[in-house]
């Protein structure tokens, strides 16, 4: 089971209808991804930070998640400034740092953090079951939706099966090396894992049928209908409009 550390809470964001939150996250993320002006990107980062504050999340956990992306960004910062063509800022032997390279890296950094923070604040704050349902009512096909929910539930079971197979190989003295025996063993492991996963999927589906499943998950959560939904919608739209305004002027 994947933990959902942000899903529980009673903040302003937690009480917004999930459909509205997903729509807002999608629109804002697309706007951020397509923008290039620094004023737009900085305001996007500010909006995302505000959303995080409104969701009232555990800061240390949020930072932990943001740091994961920081790892990738460091790689970008190492490569982009010296490989991108443009006005040279600084030279060291054959290596030249360009202004355009630094600007591009900064843009990507701002975009990544804004989008990630938005998704944490708006989407990670709902349980996956609610996410599935909201996606369903937003018109995402049922099969895709079930795929999401069921893989979410069973990724850990498959991982456990894998660990079990690896253990079984280890206790019989299997040591991986670069030889045909190793490759063959890994091929068996992978094959076995697929077989087991598909058998398991079949049994789970049968169990679901036995409990009256007919193709649609029915959510247990109910969301308060109150003033917060229209307020949130207005806030989102004004954020979107101001970003578009900044980008086009």
């Amino acid at each position: 089971m994947i933990e959902e550390p942000f899903a529980k809470g009673d903040s302003f964001i937690h009480n917004i209808d999930p459909r509205l939150r997903i729509a807002a996250a999608a629109m804002l993320s697309i706007a951020v991804a397509l923008s290039s002006g620094f004023a737009t990107l900085l305001s996007a980062l500010a909006i995302a930070a505000l959303a995080l504050v409104a969701a009232n999340l555990d800061w240390r956990r949020v930072c932990g998640r943001l740091l994961v992306v920081a790892g990738f960004l460091i790689l970008l910062w190492l490569i982009l400034p010296i490989t991108h063509r443009g006005y040279p800022l600084y030279s060291l032997g054959p290596v030249t740092v360009t202004r355009e390279g630094i600007m591009l890296a900064t843009q990507i950094t701002l975009k990544s953090f804004s989008i990630l923070a938005l998704l944490i604040a708006l989407v990670a704050t709902m349980p996956v079951a609610a996410l599935g349902n909201a996606l369903g009512s937003l018109g995402v096909p049922g099969k895709l939706n079930q795929l999401l929910l069921v893989s979410y539930r069973y990724i850990f079971v498959i991982e456990q099966e894998y660990q079990r197979l690896v253990r079984a190989a280890k206790i019989r003295g299997f040591q991986p090396g670069t030889n045909l025996h190793t490759y063959r063993t890994y091929a068996y492991l992978a094959g076995m894992l697929f077989v087991r996963a598909s058998m398991r999927a079949q049994r789970v589906y049968q169990a679901m049928l036995c409990r009256g499943f007919h193709g649609r998950y029915i959510p247990l959560q109910t969301f308060k209908t109150g003033k917060q939904n229209p307020v949130f919608a207005v806030l989102t739209l004004s954020a979107l409009v101001s970003m578009l305004y900044l980008e086009w002027t």
């Binding site: 349980p127 996956v128 079951a129 539930r153 398991r200 049994r203 036995c210 009256g212 007919h214």
Partner: protein, 242 residues
């Protein structure tokens, strides 16, 4: 003596997996109201297959199946029946697929068309009945084996079935959980078929016990368990009782 309506009536059921020898052969069996039947079957004797046929998950190659007074033919027939018959799977992990216990227990009632409030009330009641009040928000994946089995039973009971089908419910359980299961089953006013190897458990929970062999349930060979003591001159030697 009064007669009871047959709930499950199997007549001449045969089944074989593709390319395999027959698992069930001309199996005939009837379960009536208030029947509590134990079936003792060796591994691979087709007991799980039998339960899956009753639930309509597998289609027999021959024979007729009558559930709650109706002959079963199409998937649609079975969809109605699945609300009345609850199957407890051999592996509880297959049965629990929602993030939290409460959601999992409410899954069946919601599918039956109950409102959220009704489904929640029913789920809480079932969990309380099984002594699992504090489990509502627990993560199904993190439960112990025994807890998983009890929660799986709760998911089945929450649908208020008329018949229970239990596939080796004691497999891998400790003595305490077994005792809880025995207590629960003897308090339930439900007809059930229970498959197990454990005679102690079967004697405590069922009224009749039949062996299953060669793809048939041998109703004529009811099993009786008794304890006997006797002395042997050479008692330390292994010996057979027939």
């Amino acid at each position: 003596m009064h007669t009871h309506e047959p709930l499950i009536k199997l007549d001449g059921i045969s089944f074989s997996y593709p390319g395999g020898s027959p698992v069930l052969e001309d199996l005939t069996f009837t379960l009536s109201e208030h029947d509590r039947i134990g079936i003792v079957a060796p591994n691979g004797s087709g007991k799980t297959t039998l339960l899956h046929i009753i639930m309509g998950l597998l289609t027999p190659s021959a024979g007729s199946l009558e559930l709650f007074g109706r002959v079963m033919q199409t998937e649609k027939d079975f969809q109605d029946v699945r609300r009345k018959a609850g199957l407890l799977f051999q592996d509880a992990d297959d049965q629990l697929f929602s993030p939290t216990v409460l959601e999992d227990v409410a899954f069946g009632p919601l599918n039956m068309g109950k409102t959220k409030e009704e489904a929640l009330a029913l789920s809480r009641k079932t969990l309380a009945y099984l002594g699992l009040e504090d489990f509502e928000d627990k993560i199904t994946f993190k439960l112990s084996g025994g807890e998983k089995r009890l929660v799986a039973l709760a998911t089945v009971l929450a649908m208020e079935p008329q018949v229970l089908l239990l596939d080796e419910p004691t497999a891998g359980l400790d003595q305490d959980t077994k005792k809880r299961l025995i207590k629960t089953l003897s308090e339930l006013d439900l007809a059930y078929i229970l498959i197990s190897h454990e005679f102690d458990f079967l004697t405590a929970t069922t009224d009749h016990m039949y062996p299953m062999e060669n793809g048939k349930i041998l109703v004529d060979e009811e099993l009786h368990v008794h304890v006997h003591e006797h002395a042997h001159k050479v008692g330390a030697h292994p010996h057979r009782h027939v």
